[in-house]
Each structure stands twice: as C-alpha cells, then as structure tokens.
C-alpha cells in the first residue's frame, strides 16, 4: 500500500555524542538513541505529547537492519571468551524492550511492532504503518528507524551485500505520521549519512510544505 503522510512531528539524530541514559538499560547506545529520537519528535512525556490523539489509537513501528548490535556482540564476545553474559543484556537484547519503556512513558497502548529491513528501511516500515493505521482505523503512527554505527560484524555483512546500508555513525529517526496527501520528500540533503534510514531522514528533514 502506498500512502501519503502528514508529518506531525519529526526528529533525526546522527551523532556519536553523549546521550541521556535510560534507566534499566546499559552498555549499549541503541535504546538511549531510540529514546533521544522519540524525545526530539514528541517532546517530554506530558499532556499533549501525542498531539491530541489518544494512546490507544497510536501505533508504533520500529525499523532497523541489525537491531542492538552492541548488546548482542557484548554477550557473544563474553561467551567466546568463556564468560557469562550480564543479566542486563538479557533484558535489553530485543527492540521491544525500549518500545515498552516508551509506551509506558507516553501512554501508548495501540499496536506496536518492530521489523528488520534490507535496503531503505522507509520502504518497509512506511507501507507497513500505512496498512496498520488504515485497517485498524488508528489516528497516527510513531515510526522509528534506528541503526548503530558500523561495527566489525555489520561492516563485514555490508561488504558482501549492497542492500545492507550502514549509517556513518549512530543514527535514529522518529516521525509522528498521520494519513495525508504528502508525497515523496525532496529535502534532507545530508540524509545519505543515515544509511538505510535515509528515506526516513529525508521525510524528517523535508520542509514542512513538502511533506
């Protein structure tokens, strides 16, 4: 399904700089990165963070290529060295963990899902979100893209497959979208640095009248 979107709010993060920690999450920048993008998009949790729409009519769709590479590599490297993984790595290993935290903070009780995509993540998550919003008669979708900076493992996979697009450094995009008449967004000249998140970054950075 193709659909136009009204971009109600947006945020794009491309940074290796410090991120506010998320209580209960450690060692990896994946979950703090997701929350930073969502904070930039929705603002601090509060009365109108969802822009006047109820939490049970808001969907969340997260797209990524590899997920939390740091957490998986930390656990795996410890095992390879004869050590046991930290219990914290168990709790945060799946992307549903940080989405659960964000749903709690923002009072989102609608459908939530996470996917791994080849190529431009936008091409997978935007049609998925459009179908979800249309069929379930929802008001809006919080669409998130996240990819950690290249690591030895992901660089190796990307070297063998041109469809695996890595960002220049840690990258995340959050968009609050509603069905609308918008088309392809021409903006976001620096979007290529977002790798597989470039399509989402363009949508986030496009001029308001182009969305």
């Amino acid at each position: 399904m193709t659909a136009g979107w009204q971009v109600v709010a947006a945020s794009a993060v491309l940074s290796a700089g410090p991120l506010p920690p998320v209580p209960g999450f450690a060692h990896s920048r994946f979950s703090p990165l997701v929350r930073e993008a969502v904070r930039g998009c929705l603002g601090e949790p509060g009365a109108d963070a969802l822009h006047g729409r109820p939490g049970d009519r808001t969907a969340v769709v997260l797209g990524t290529g590899f997920g939390d590479v740091t957490t998986h590599d930390l656990a795996s490297e410890r095992l390879a060295n004869g050590l046991l993984p930290s219990p914290l790595l168990f709790y945060q290993a799946v992307p549903t963990a940080i989405l659960g935290q964000l749903c709690h903070e923002y009072g989102i009780t609608g459908p939530v899902t996470c996917v791994s995509a080849l190529g431009d993540v936008a091409e997978s998550v935007l049609p998925l979100a459009a179908t979800l919003v249309a069929v379930e008669e929802l008001a809006q979708a919080l669409v998130i893209g996240v990819e950690l900076a290249p690591s030895p493992r992901t660089v190796r996979v990307a070297a063998g497959d041109p469809r695996v697009l890595l960002p220049r450094t840690d990258a995340a995009v959050a968009l609050l979208l509603r069905p609308g008449a918008g088309g392809a967004a021409p903006g976001g000249a620096g979007a290529e640095a977002f790798g597989g998140l470039a399509g989402l970054a363009r949508l986030a950075e496009a001029p308001e009248d182009a969305r």
Binding site: M1, G24, G55, D56, V60, G65, F66, G67, H72, D73, A75, S76, E77, L79, A80, N81, L84, P85, S86, P87, L89, F90, Y91, V94, P95, T96, A97, I98, L99, G100, C103, H104, Y106, G107, T109, G110, P111, V112, T113, C114, V115, S116, A117, L118, P127, L128, T131, A134, V135, E136, E137, P152, R153, T154, R156, V157, A159, G160, D161, V164
Partner: protein, 406 residues
C-alpha cells in the same frame, strides 16, 4: 461491504465466511522438538508429552539450567534458513500455490544468534569467518535468503518483536489481505535453540532449573527454550474460492495492543493482552463465551502466567471460567520468535481435529477456577472459535482468532 473496500468493518453475526475480504488459511508447515508436520504435533503436543532433555547442541554445563526442547532427528534443519524453507515449502504445497512469486512473505525471527556467536568465536581465536553464515545474523537477510529459495515475492519483512514476532507477522498478513493490497501472503516464524539466547535467558534467571515447564501451576518456576518453526498461507476467501483451494479455517479476528507498563513485567491485570483479545473478538463480532479454546502464551513464569489469567478473564467476560485454556509450552518449550506461528497452527489443528491439547505438568493451578484449564490429557471438544495469544518483553501483546471451516 464491497470487495475493494480498504477497511473491513466488524462483521457481526460471528462468522467471517460470507465476508468479501475475509482471510482464510489454505496451507501450513510446522516443526517443533517433536519433529516435522502435524502428525508430530499430534503425537507430542496433543498427547501432552514433554520433550525436554539435557542440551547437547552446545556445552550447557556452565549454566544454571541445562534443559531445552531440541529435535535431534536425522531430518533436523541445519539452521533457520533451512527451517523456514522446509515449513514454507510444506505450506505452499498444502495450499496448492503454483505461483509463489505472487506472495509477499512476513516472518518472525531473531536472525541467527549462532552466526553472531561463531563470528566472535572465530574472531577471538583468530580464525577465518564464514561470511555466508554471518549474513544470517541480520534477520532481514535470513528471511530474504529463505524467500529466494522458495521463490516468494515481495515485500519480504522480518519481524523482530521477540515473543510476538510471528504472531505480529500473521496479524500483518491479515491486514494486508483485509486492506485489499494482496490476495495471499506467506507468514512464518523460526527459532532454533542456541547458546546465545540460552545464556541470556539463563543469566536473567528466566529458565526453569527443574527440567520441566509447568504453565499456570503454583509451582511454576520459569520457561525452557524449544526449537520451533511454522509457515502459514493466508488468502482472501475470494482468491481461495476462485482457484478451488480448500480453506482450512478462517482468521475471524486479530488484535495487537501494548501494556504501557514495565519492560520486564507484564501489566498485573494483563491490560494489553485483554485489549488485544477484545480487538480480535470485536473484529469477528464474537462474544468471549463463544470461544471454545484458548491457546495461551503461558510460558511458566510467575508474573506472566498470573497476568495472563487475569487478562483473559477480563476479555472473555462472564463465561471465562467455562472457556477451555491450555498452554502448550510444556510440550514445545518457548520457541521465542516462532512461538506465535506454531501456536496458531496448534489452535488450527484443535479446531479441525476436535481435540484440545493439554497443559503438561499442570497439577495445582494457580488462581484455580479462573479458567477451564485442560491439564495433562487431551480433551475432545467441538470448537468453532479458537484463540491464540502471545506477549513479549516490553508488554507487546497479540491475538489471533480462528474460526473452523464449515
């Protein structure tokens, strides 16, 4: 409602069979620790036979828990790609699909943790890395390779939302068909027991150390992991009729909802699970008391099972204590991203065979009387509507309501 309507309204009357955009199941493939196919399910899961044994696939001696549900037959899949291909091929053959390139594919998988593990073992040891193997650490790439082998079409999406991944894949498959975007889709899930997830669950004290899983029992002490894979062909009723395919069941309703509570504990009243079930019932136009079987998530954890019982009672309503419920994780283990797809097929078989699979190891039910548990032995039942529910870390919940073929 016209067949080209993008949004189906709740059907009313409790039946999806006459609906223009209803979703039907026309084929499936399934694999668990009992082996491949429905007969293995009947002999293992429906007979209430726990398959747990000490793990030999890797060295588990340094972990608290030692057991898992692992299939070691000669026809065991080598990896998740093989597993998805085997289940997908069975599903396509059963459905009689002669042009798989027309079908998008939606599959729940964590990707290959084993590939990540082998990468790090090779790196630490200074040995060569197998790049073909490593690529499958990326869930999307794993699914894409399996789809290439099966000749499937696009989009191809890997769902990575933990224990609701393949349930969400099925729900999204239904949404694609209901929207009119596609006529048929292959939905799937896969997980094979490996050291990486085993170590993480063990470190989180989530695994049972007794060698058994006892969902809903007062003495439940945790889950155990299990091999699992499944694929299911979903089609619009019109498309299935047009090509003369046999509809095995209808997907009468579905729902997804979030707890908005805590990351590692479900809402104590099962709020998200109740909302997902309520959405599924509403879409189908079915009352809770019409549900003849619930395949519960029931992992055997203390907080999860208690919340699920309360959530199911809330969603099913006044007659909840008369609705038969079982968790089949005592006979499959927890198959993580594959669990929803496998359990939808268990529910499908229950409707078609008129037999309910039991909760193995259930002796002294916690919150006794809250639900009509099916303990230890299969039960014959004439069931029209069967519900399968799953929940994940982060409080995501999904429900799929099947209606037996007339």
């Amino acid at each position: 409602m016209p067949s080209d309507s993008p949004i189906p309204s709740p059907r009313g009357g409790g039946s999806g069979w006459g609906h223009a955009r209803n979703v039907v199941v026309t084929g499936y493939g399934v694999f668990t620790a009992h082996g491949h196919g429905p007969e293995a399910l009947r002999a293992g899961v429906f007979a209430g036979r726990p398959p747990f044994a000490p793990v030999t696939r890797f060295d588990a001696s340094r972990f608290r828990a030692r057991h898992a549900a692992v299939y070691e037959g000669a026809d065991a899949p080598r990896d998740q790609r093989d597993l998805l291909v085997a289940c997908g091929r069975s599903a396509l053959e059963m459905a009689g699909v002669d042009r798989p390139s027309a079908l998008p594919a939606l599959a729940g998988t964590p990707g290959s943790y084993s590939a990540t593990n082998r990468f790090w073992r090779a790196t630490v040891a200074g040995e060569a890395v197998d790049d073909g193997d490593l690529a499958h650490c990326m869930p999307a790439r794993l699914v894409d390779d399996a789809c290439d082998e099966l000749g499937l079409g696009r989009p191809r999406i890997a769902f990575v939302d933990a224990c609701v991944a393949s349930t969400n894949a099925i729900v999204h498959g239904c949404q694609l068909i209901a929207s009119g975007a596609v006529e048929a889709v292959l939905c799937a899930g896969s997980y094979l027991v490996e050291e990486e997830a085993f170590a993480k669950f063990d470190s989180g004290l989530a695994l049972s150390t007794t060698g058994r899983v006892r969902p809903f029992s007062r003495e439940r002490s945790g889950l155990l992991l299990g091999d699992g894979g499944a694929a299911i062909v979903l089609e619009s009723g019109d498309a299935a009729r047009a090509r003369g395919a046999t509809a095995l069941a209808s997907v009468a309703g579905w729902g997804m909802a979030a707890d908005a509570h805590l990351v590692v504990r479900p809402h104590p009243e099962g709020r998200g699970l109740a909302a997902a079930v309520t959405a599924a019932l509403r879409r189908a136009g079915v009352d809770g008391c019409q549900v003849g079987y619930v395949n519960a998530h029931g992992t055997g954890t203390v907080a999860g099972d208690a919340a699920e019982v309360i959530g199911l009672r809330a969603a099913l309503g006044a007659g909840a204590d008369r609705v038969p419920v079982s968790s089949t994780k005592g006979t499959t283990g927890h198959m993580l991203e594959a669990t929803g797809a496998v359990e939808v097929i268990v529910t499908l078989l229950a409707l078609r065979d008129g037999v309910l699979p039991p909760t193995a190891g259930l002796a002294d039910a916690d919150l006794d009387g809250a639900l009509d548990h099916v303990p230890n032995e299969p039960r014959e039942a004439d069931v029209r509507f069967g519900l399968s529910v799953n929940s994940s870390f982060g409080g995501l919940n999904a429900a799929v309501l099947l209606e037996r073929a007339p």
